[in-house]
Point group: C2
Chain length 465, copies 2
């Protein structure tokens, strides 16, 4: 099962394309996108320079992002500390989804090319723009539909919240996740299309079609929607629907979930300091990449992008290229007739307020290949060895293609067996999807991988509003 072979095709548990027209539109957009992405030496990134003092790699304008270094010290945990490169992007970008009410809710999506995507084009929200983008620092055209988000009509905001992004790769980055209901008719421009929320959710069953930005916005939308009420005949779908119901009983009171995080945050699990990229130990830079000495984790590469479908015809930029494919999984099971997922406190150095709530398993197994079994992440083997009938969701999804090169994770929802205890350890809590969705009205509660899984879970519940 390789990324290339599965890209754009229905996954084992997916339902295929919900609508032939939609598939045709998407394939046409991919064909119209004649883009090439070529690796180039780091010193050949025209508008980027390596700071002679720190070694940091930044844009000459001071905008966009900077690759810098991080010194991380643990607080008595199994890993004593480490250093790593990390992307610093203090600007807050906008991930905006325009919706309208027809028979059901409809979303204005975009077929967007990003240089790091394995398959070029994926489905993105209406607006996906860094502040540099929409203030036109790169000299490109204006961002379509931005006006709906900059000055939304009174009463039209459905969700609007700052959320963190990959805490292992970004230093304190967050984006504004915003859903706005269109005030009047809004025609779809080229590359854009109105699709039903249900179709968008069904596309979550395909590999590498719905991009990360869409998934996080969908997760933030879930709390604002009524819970799915009608379900397919599938018993698991009914369990999921009840898991999103505000009246369903949770095994942990809401205040106890908050108290769990507060206690962990009070102990300051990681002490994080920014350092110069050239001083990061355990990593080396050659002509084409900055890589981990052990060949693990990720590297920083440079690429040249030529395209016909973006605001500017071509550019060069660094990308973060992860090693291997990650596993991101929720163990799930009914407790008292209500679906719960096993949340793990995600301690990642780039999170502004660690830990956030993350998936049960979130790792790149290759990074653990050199370690003894006792150091493998909890529940990784339970997920990987689960029998097929317990795997309820299994898709390969990409992380942000504007910063990451071919960053794929295998996202899974796996039904746990009853041997998993109600409180495996202080790191874990069983929570309902509804509890997670409700927290997504606020910042820094559920990490981006957890949000992707929550959007995937919602899509399993059958018909929804």
């Amino acid at each position: 099962m390789t990324g290339a072979a599965r890209a754009g095709t229905a996954s084992a548990t997916g339902t295929g394309w919900p609508d032939p027209d939609l598939r045709q539109w998407y394939e046409q957009r991919r064909e119209a996108s004649t883009s090439t992405v070529t690796q180039v030496p780091l010193d050949a990134l025209r508008d980027w320079r390596t700071d002679p003092v720190t070694g940091d790699l930044g844009h000459r304008s001071g905008q966009f992002f900077t690759v810098t270094g991080l010194d991380v010290r643990g607080d008595g945990g199994p890993v004593p500390g480490w250093q790593q490169p990390i992307i610093s992007q203090p600007e807050i970008g906008l991930l905006g989804l325009l919706v309208r009410r027809r028979a059901g809710l409809e979303c204005l999506v975009q077929a967007k090319m990003e240089p790091g995507n394995v398959n070029g084009v994926q489905i993105s929200p209406t607006v996906q723009a860094t502040r540099s983008n929409y203030t036109r620092i790169h000299g490109g055209a204006g961002t379509p539909y931005m006006e709906h988000f900059v000055r939304p009509a009174r009463g039209s905001v459905v969700a609007d919240v700052l959320q963190s992004e990959q805490g292992s790769w970004f230093l304190g980055k967050r984006n504004r996740n915003m859903v706005v209901e269109a005030a009047g008719p809004v025609p779809a421009q080229e590359n854009f299309r109105w699709i039903t929320l249900r179709d968008l959710q069904l596309l979550m069953g395909l590999d590498n079609v719905v991009n990360m930005d869409t998934r996080t916005v969908l997760a933030c939308l879930a709390a604002a929607l009524p819970p799915p009420t009608r379900t397919t005949g599938d018993a698991f779908a009914g369990l999921v629907a009840r898991g999103f119901s505000p009246t369903a009983g949770a095994v942990e009171r809401d205040v106890d979930v908050l108290s769990w995080l507060t206690a962990l945050r009070s102990h300051r699990p990681l002490d994080v300091r920014r350092i110069g990229l050239s001083t990061v130990s355990g990593w080396h830079r050659d002509r084409y990449a900055i890589d981990h000495d052990g060949g693990r984790h990720f590297g920083i590469i440079g690429v040249e992008v030529r395209t016909t479908v973006r605001e500017v015809p071509g550019w060069r930029q660094p990308l973060l290229r992860p090693r291997g494919r990650g596993i991101v999984a929720f163990l799930a099971r009914p407790i008292g007739g209500v679906l719960h997922v096993l949340a793990r406190a995600a301690v990642q150095p780039g999170l502004r307020d660690a830990p956030e709530i993350g998936p049960t398993v979130q790792c790149r197994p290759e990074n653990y290949a050199h370690l003894p079994m006792s150091r493998r992440p909890p529940f990784l083997d339970a997920v990987l060895s689960a029998p097929r009938e317990r795997i309820r969701y299994d898709c390969v999804l990409s992380e942000e293609g504007g910063r990451f090169h071919h960053a794929e994770n295998r996202y899974m929802v796996v039904e746990a067996d009853e041997r998993v205890p109600v409180r495996p350890s202080e790191e874990f809590r069983w929570v309902t999807p509804r509890q997670l969705a409700t927290l997504l009205a606020h910042s820094h509660y559920v990490n981006v991988e957890g949000r992707s899984l929550l959007a995937a879970l919602y899509s399993l519940a059958g018909s929804c509003p």
Copy 2:
């Protein structure tokens, strides 16, 4: 009206001591506290040292706190930028209130001496401890009642949330605000006393009796309590009670309040960098203090403390000494029969996630004496010139006496007249007390001055659970 003359006496709008026994206990505790606080030269602070490179003033153990410098740049606002000293205290302390249910809710409070208090002893929560305190870095005795908060019994946590503190004086500081219901009988040790929540709220009507730590915990408790239902005959009390009701209609939808903050945060109103204390421009250090060149804002002084009532008999430490007394006020008025307060987006450089929601007015008027009228804070004069019958709350309350020397603010709730518009500007929103209380289940929404006012407002609602 000076602080000394009013300290510990009923304010103009206060109701006096609710219970003679309580007053007698408090006065006895004050008398038993034979403490002296003497200013000493900064270089005579034994366990503190000035870093030869940065000029920062820190404890030799590396614990407690450090006085450092801050470089602040605005984003096109009226103030272009400034530098200032600031207290860095990355450790998260605990403010813990133990409660129990009798006829009504009762709270275990402490009569606690802090060196910066104008009147020595004030009412504090059950536990008020920095991490250095309760891990016994200073070699003192253990912190009483800590066990109730470190390992609370299942189902006993009422509130547990990290909240920011003074964003002009602290760099990113936050404390854990925690309310726990006692699982069994808990006797009050010396200096401690069980009092009813209602009595504690009535003490909010006295000057300098209920300390800041108690007030912020009370505010976080408000959301967990049912709204006050029985009221006194006072019509304003009825309005306040309705303002705390979850069913009362608010002029702004909850999502619009969140969206307001999200939009302001996305624009990154302040760019803040830590710098060495010795490089801070506009300030100077002499033998006894670090002061603003214009004599405004605040200074850093050193004190020697001798006392019989703390874990150690004496110590020396720096304190931040503000200039003049501040004004902290909510304008309030009914909209649609429900009390609303006029919230201002508080942009303070030390907040981890600025802006938070703050009072309508929060300033030290003396800092504006040298500026033209047009630069005076909005609504300051409306508050100061309000006719007596519109002043619904008016008490002098102290900020944290463990870090601040005689830091008093005049806290006020003033009924606005109808000329104040429904949306005065992007900085302001009318919100219900209930909306603020609900947000206090989460971090970084309402600043510490706003929380004090919210606790004061709740106390005006008459009887409560």
